[in-house]
Amino acid sequence: MTTKPLAAVVVWVSVFSAVPLFATQRGNVPANPDALTQQDFKKRVDAYVALHNAAVKDVGTLKPTSDPAEIKQGQNALAQRIAAARADAKPGDLFTPEIKTRFRELLAPHLKGEDGRDAKAIVKDDAPVAVPFKVNAVYPEGKSLPTVPAQLLVNLPTLPKELEYRIIEKHLILRDTEANLIVDYMLNAIP
């Protein structure tokens, strides 16, 4: 039965989500909160990727093909499978309040001065309208995917190939690149 591995991953992710985030390292030694926050984000991303990969096993890997219909069908099947597997997902599952705060701190210095103006101009360039800020929503077909300024990107935690950041106006979304799903979002990520 192909649903078992995915079910196991869902259980694991659910259990993981309940783990307190800011435990100290080794007893009473205070941990670096920044490092812990980023470590926490990485764990959450890893958990999502595990779920994604389990869904891929269920529906089949997207492979290069000459038939565009196959690409579309594969993308949609994967999106449906993932959305079903994380039907209880909610905003903030990956972008927790602590992670949001840290991300704003990472982005803010690069949005000042001339480079900052350039970065904001890039974000505005071809900014799509009517992108739903909703977990598990499909990124609207035919809408442009606004460029993420390289200066911002290299200052955020690197993501595995299954995920990417996109900035829509002032808001940051985490997008599943293969399933075209909005995995989580963070409103007002940039000033």
Binding site: L62, K63, P64, T65, S66, D67, P68, A69, I71, K72, G74, Q75, D115, D118, A119, I122, D125, D126, E141, G142, S144, L145, P146, T147, V148, P149, A150, Q151, L153, V154, T158, L159, K161, E164, T177, E178, N180
Partner: protein, 308 residues
Amino acid sequence: MRRLLVSTVLLLAATMPATQADDLRLPLKKDSVRFAVIGDTGTGDSHQRDVAHQLDAWRQKFPFTFVVMMGDNLYGGDSPKDYQREFEVPYKTLLDGGVKFYASLGNHDNPNERLYKPFNMNGERYYSFKPERASVRFFALDSNYIDDKQLDWLDQQLAESGSDWKICFFHHPPYSSGETHGSAVLQREKLEPMFVKHGVNVVLSGHEHFYERIKPQKGIQYFILGNSAKVRRGDLLKTDLTEKGWDQGYSFMLVEIAGDDLYFQTISDRATTIDGGVIHRVGKTEPTPGRSAQPVQPGPAPKPPVKP
């Protein structure tokens, strides 16, 4: 009646795309690498088809074997019908003739286009390829999303490319005189040091809906060609960057590489030559870590080949 006939002929001449490919200015040297450049193509409208028609016509005289695409390959969606209307139908003759297309991703492209075999991206958002028996390597980048992984990959790939011509292509132009977009400065800050370090010779991009040949920057020749289906008339500002620019119509470029020379000819959808010339590669051909590009020098437009 005669006046009417003349008027009709003139009107037809003005409205129908010309099909003459009799102004070829490329030398057609033996064993040269021949390819075409198109950008921002995916409209599926008559302008895209006109340019495609010209590509077919010019290929009869200049038998290029592949086409590089500067992104925005599909506007407005990526359904099977979009692939058909905005790629398969316009370029059917070329595809049937065995011409290969190598795509890069624009901001209007779903990155899953990387899975579409006729785009020859091997399932990757960025990739490189080297035509058989050619001394040139191409690097297709995803300028929408330049993260550390892509930069590391590019650094390694360029370092391994030896003495080949190095041509990078991607959507956002590092230098541009466009009013709407302008230079993609933030991408340039990340990419240009790597281009210089590894001796990239030529950079091709789109995004701006016009043609512009930039004066060589740090020994690198930059071209913008984002008007193969869309044009933004009047968007090209007068700046010191421009060697040659054109924002009054639709175009594509033919390129021939022979030895240390790269010949180019940019042609409109009316078969008019917009620009042409040769870029000569000088200096060391091996990359020198931490130093030198292999500077390019623009030269005069070559004479048309001698007709037999």
